[in-house]
Amino acid sequence: MIEARGLTKRYGETLAVSELSFTVQPGRITGFLGPNGAGKTTTMRLILGLDRPTRGTVTVNGKEFRQLARPMQEVGALLDAKAVHGGRSARNHLRCLAEANNLPLRRAGEVLELVGLSDVAGKRAGGFSLGMGQRLGIAAALLGDPAILMFDEPVNGLDPEGILWIRNLMKALAAEGRTVFVSSHLMSEMEHTADHLIVIGRGRVIADCSVADFIAGNSVQSVRVRTPDPVVLVNAVAQAGGTAVADGDGAIVVQGLTAERVGDLAFTSRIPVHELTPDRASLEAAFMELTAASVEFRAGAPGGPPGGGRAADSGSEPGPGGGEPVRAGGVA
């Protein structure tokens, strides 16, 4: 368990994190989400005692990190894959870490096998690709078989297979009852991985809730449907209490109904469905909207809230590509 209370860190003029209070619980993956410069890395450095907080405290299992008897057996951390001496082989790198905490040296071989680096164990880490470096960092984090794991943007530089691998690894670690604290700046990444979310912007906590609650509270229910018989579907949706709008690309966007409900409606109306997609963008949009006020580096002029354009309606000015809004009542 990680507990932060009023955690504040100032670098000269920059207030990197401010009055952070949160608890990271065991047995689940806690996603630490925030745009660039929000203070995620700073928070993790404070947890590890690499930086000293300006104010406030952060403890790991009730103790300051520096006080932990055997740090590697309590916390494993991957902050950045570059934190390795490039002239040392992967095996020797892990070996010197293991020795520092009196861990059996066989652990080096075990974790190398676990992350799939056994074949390059004797190679200099400086020659590793970004993905291999990331795996070596994860091996180091797992070396002490710790109950708490912390990963700062672990999927950076990984290929799709590597991303899947790390997702499964994190899920397995949480399923074993460990605390997994993982940062990301992509909601779409966390949505599939995390159980709980702590969202920060400009160094402040702006949401601390389960992923399910976040989705329920922030996403506009919308489902994209493609069917050769849109009129029937639009009517069925209207009768079920939803709204349907043509998205200008030949599909219909349904709001107010779940994907399951829309599928059932199509089935009972006996019309074929070529696509049925719950709209993921809405969650990313909700995240961006939530953090918009706190984004440090912003491009362009302020416009409407992201995703807000979908609210356009009324039958005037049909778009060029058949983008004419389809209102349920109007077509009937």
Partner: protein
């Protein structure tokens, strides 16, 4: 979760729960592995040994040559003084050897910063004083062992060359063993001084430059001081103070061997203390 089930972190019984508190012992073993597992250690130590021996041999050879060309009467008069200085001639290479061990001393800590390794090192050993001490102990021991080997090898090779003119000395002569062993102590101290500076500056190039300035440039500049100043200041210059221990014949106005070495060791202690304070206090 079928795919995830095969990810078992602790395979063969995992990690024993009671390994004891991570302390200095583990940190020392860890640092020993670190220093042994990078090539730069071997290159630098080899360079130190070869350069020091080479220059000592060259200097001894030059002196033997000059001696051989003296007329017989002058040789007889000069012989005793030459023998008294024989150890100094053979150890003269230390003047460059000190710079190479300083490079290694600085790199021991600055390479952790340049590679980012320091963040990993501090997450496995967050007690910074322990980490700093382990590094100093391991590097100090390595530098002392290599320094003694360098100093004794330089001495024996230099004496072999000087013996061709019968102006060599032996370890049995008064002060000679102290001077030769002192050469090793001097090198270890130079390395540790530079390690302290490295901890303060955290930058390889900056720390190496500062160490060379302190050990070598200050010595060169001191030679340009007006005579009246030189009398009082010269002996306090780090190189002059440190070199007192490996000079069999003390130069005028200089400290006695052990007093000079004590001054040099005090400089080293100051650099180490300042390095430790900053290492503990600063964000890594």
């Amino acid at each position: 979760m079928a795919a995830t089930a095969q990810v078992t972190v602790a395979r063969h019984g995992g990690v024993p729960a009671s390994g004891g508190r991570a302390g200095l012992g583990g940190a020392v073993r860890s640092e020993l592995t670190k220093i042994r597992s990078v090539r730069s250690t071997y290159w630098t130590l080899t360079a130190m040994i070869l350069v020091t021996i080479g220059i000592g041999a060259l200097f001894s050879f030059g002196h033997a040559q000059a001696f051989s060309q003296l007329p017989a009467g002058q040789q007889a008069r000069q012989s005793a003084a030459s023998i008294a200085h024989a150890a100094d001639y053979s150890l003269f290479g230390l003047i460059l050897g000190q710079l190479i061990v300083a490079v290694l001393g600085a790199l021991t800590i600055t390479s952790e910063y340049s590679t980012g390794m320091v963040r990993t090192s501090l997450t496995v050993m967050p007690r910074r004083g322990t980490l700093f001490a382990a590094k100093a102990l391991v590097f100090g021991a390595v530098a002392l062992a290599a320094g003694l080997a360098t100093s004794f090898a330089s001495f024996f090779i230099g004496q072999a060359i000087l013996s061709t003119q019968h102006i060599s000395t032996t370890l049995g002569h008064p002060g000679v063993l102290r001077a030769v062993a002192g050469g090793g102590l001097f090198l270890a101290c130079c390395g540790l001084l530079s390690y302290g500076i490295g901890a303060m500056l955290r930058h390889s190039a900056g720390a190496i430059t500062a160490s060379i300035a302190l050990l070598f440039v200050a010595y060169i500049l001191s030679n340009f001081l007006p005579g009246s100043w030189a009398q009082h200041i010269d002996k306090w210059i780090p190189f002059n103070a440190g070199a007192a221990i490996w000079e069999n014949v003390s130069a005028p106005d200089m400290f006695s061997p052990w007093a000079g070495f004590a001054v040099f060791a005090a400089y080293t202690a100051v650099a180490l203390a300042a390095g430790l304070i900053l290492f503990r206090r600063r964000d890594a």
